[in-house]
Symmetry: C2
Subunit: 326 residues, 2 copies
DNA sequence: TTGAAAGCGCTAACAC
DNA sequence: GTGTTAGCGCTTTCAA
């Protein structure tokens, strides 16, 4: 196996110095056209590819961007990642995807690894919104928080309160006893969606009943268990608003298990459900522009990487009521 | 912002040479205990973290592993990736996830990027099984093909033929006109599952009818369109065997659109479906051990990375019939 | 415009 | 056991 050609090989073959080759590869501007051509020819002949490790060491920057999310199997996050990926790749960066499973330990471990790898930047949906942004500032790595806020860094989120109000209000049109299953309240998505739920109740002149609120973990089994608890209540809710897609699926399973007529309880989800899970379109959901959310985050991150140094910015993306219960 | 401490800073503070620090950080063995302690103390005090770029350059090896798959939103692949990730991370490697969208162009682009990044190794589910393994051999990067074969490298696949035979045979118990929607035949999963389908027909003494076979692209819309075509046939099939989960969902949607009674056509999928898509468990599927597949691939890759240099190995993982049509 | 030479931060011979 | 030193492959002053 022939060892990979290096810069000096190209230089020798082209009859120029390594500095010239480097210039050609980076900014063609200040090199004579004939030399440029010779270098390009030598490069092609040797099949030269730059060594990103050496370049990174010298330039003190990697061309890898880290993405830290709680759950790769959640379509919301996969679409989000696609949004980041597409934009970032156009700019020559590679994406390292890290899955925290909604646990602070895994998150911390990945963050350390990413810092060690000197990633050029980081997009993160933190497990807890109180996560220590200081750790990044220290190392000077640009960070963008997405979906969930983090203090001191650029942030892109959904308008959780408005979205939750819209969904809950829709449920309240045909039910007065509406329950909610939220994600962890240490996340902004969890707590803000709860706020929206409460505000909708208040707007409808209804009291907040603590027994109708269950905090879960954004997982399918979590939603299942939470729904079971709600269904065991002496005075059952007539509708349940679930904080995300997986918990809605879990709640659906619980309802099917407990009730003879699953339609007796109206279900709603902050995130869209796959068609097959709700073929008749009975479930109220929001259209969440996850791909755009990712693109926006990537855009802000690239700006930071390219040197933008203004104060932390915040972008809030609106959602839209998607389907309506009959 | 204080610049990040480097090895020489630790060495100076501990009053030893950089070589000693390096030894402590790598193989503590040959260093006197008291020196080890001094180094560790200095390291902690400075908050030293090694520079992976410099280390990689010197060791001629990165601690990043690339994973190239056709579709991150497919649960089969997300579970597979989790399997790889868990094992690889235990060994100190980071995972770069690349999504090819089932297109050869994206795949090629990612492969180039990964090679540039000098990843330590690569796990790939190739878009076409004829993909050029030579490109990797040239650069000497260990490669493991997973789910779909690739010549000349370690491979982990499912037993597609047996699985397809099992599913098709089950359908044939209650239907004689069984159609199939396959993935691209340039993939081994596509062609082998078709072979299994044909063999099951033959075993049942039935002819292969070309009009009952549609090649699609493993996507939901692809499955939808293919099913529409099958449903438009003068002599409709009584059952449809879908090559993967997304196409089964698409076929389901098509059936619901065209037929008054969706249960009039039996559906089967090579991969499992989410509970919500089939609450009554009517759809025949296989249990595919995707997580284990990933772990196996990771295991073989790590062996290669750690220097194993034997001939290419092949592991075939069995599947199991999961649910039965009533 | 081009080249010579000095490192980026680390590891691995080699010497002591 | 420990230190000295020479690079890994590249970019970037600094001179010419």
């Amino acid at each position: 196996m022939a060892p990979r050609a290096k810069l000096s090989d190209v230089a020798r073959l082209a009859g120029v110095s390594t500095a010239t080759v480097s210039r050609v590869l980076n900014d063609n501007d200040r090199v004579a056209p004939d030399l440029v051509e010779r270098v390009m020819k030598a490069k092609a002949e040797l099949g030269y590819r730059y060594n990103s490790l050496a370049r990174g060491l010298r330039r003190r920057a990697n061309t890898v961007v880290g993405v830290v999310i709680p759950d790769v199997t959640n379509p919301f996050f996969t679409d989000l990642v696609r949004g980041i990926e597409d934009l970032v790749r156009e700019n020559g960066y590679l994406l390292v995807l890290c899955n925290t499973d909604e646990t602070a330990e895994k998150e911390a471990a990945y963050l350390e690894l990413l810092i060690d790898q000197q990633v050029a930047g980081l997009v993160i949906a933190p497990v807890r919104s109180a996560v220590d942004a200081a750790a990044f500032d220290l190392t000077g790595i640009p960070v963008v928080a997405v979906d969930r806020t983090m203090s001191g860094v650029d942030t892109v989120t959904l308008d959780n309160v408005r979205g939750a109000i819209a969904v809950t209000s829709r449920l309240l049109e045909s039910a007065s006893r509406v329950a909610t299953i939220t994600g962890p309240l240490v996340t902004t998505t969890g707590s803000e969606r709860l706020i929206g739920y409460r505000r909708a109740l208040r707007d409808a002149g209804l009291p907040f009943e603590p027994e109708l609120f269950v905090e879960a973990d954004y997982s399918e089994p979590g939603g299942y268990l939470a729904a079971k608890r709600l269904l065991a209540l002496p005075d059952r809710p007539q509708a349940i608003f679930c904080g995300n897609h997986a918990m809605a699926l879990g709640a659906m399973r619980a309802i099917a298990e407990v009730l003879d007529d699953p339609d007796a309880i109206a279900l709603a989800s902050f995130e869209p459900l796959p068609w097959a899970a709700d073929p008749r379109g009975r479930i109220v959901t929001l259209a969440v522009p996850s791909y755009e959310l990712g693109q926006q985050a990537a855009r802000m991150l690239l700006e930071r990487i390219h040197g933008f140094d203004g104060p932390a910015r915040t972008v809030v993306v609106e959602t839209e009521l998607l389907r309506s219960a009959p």
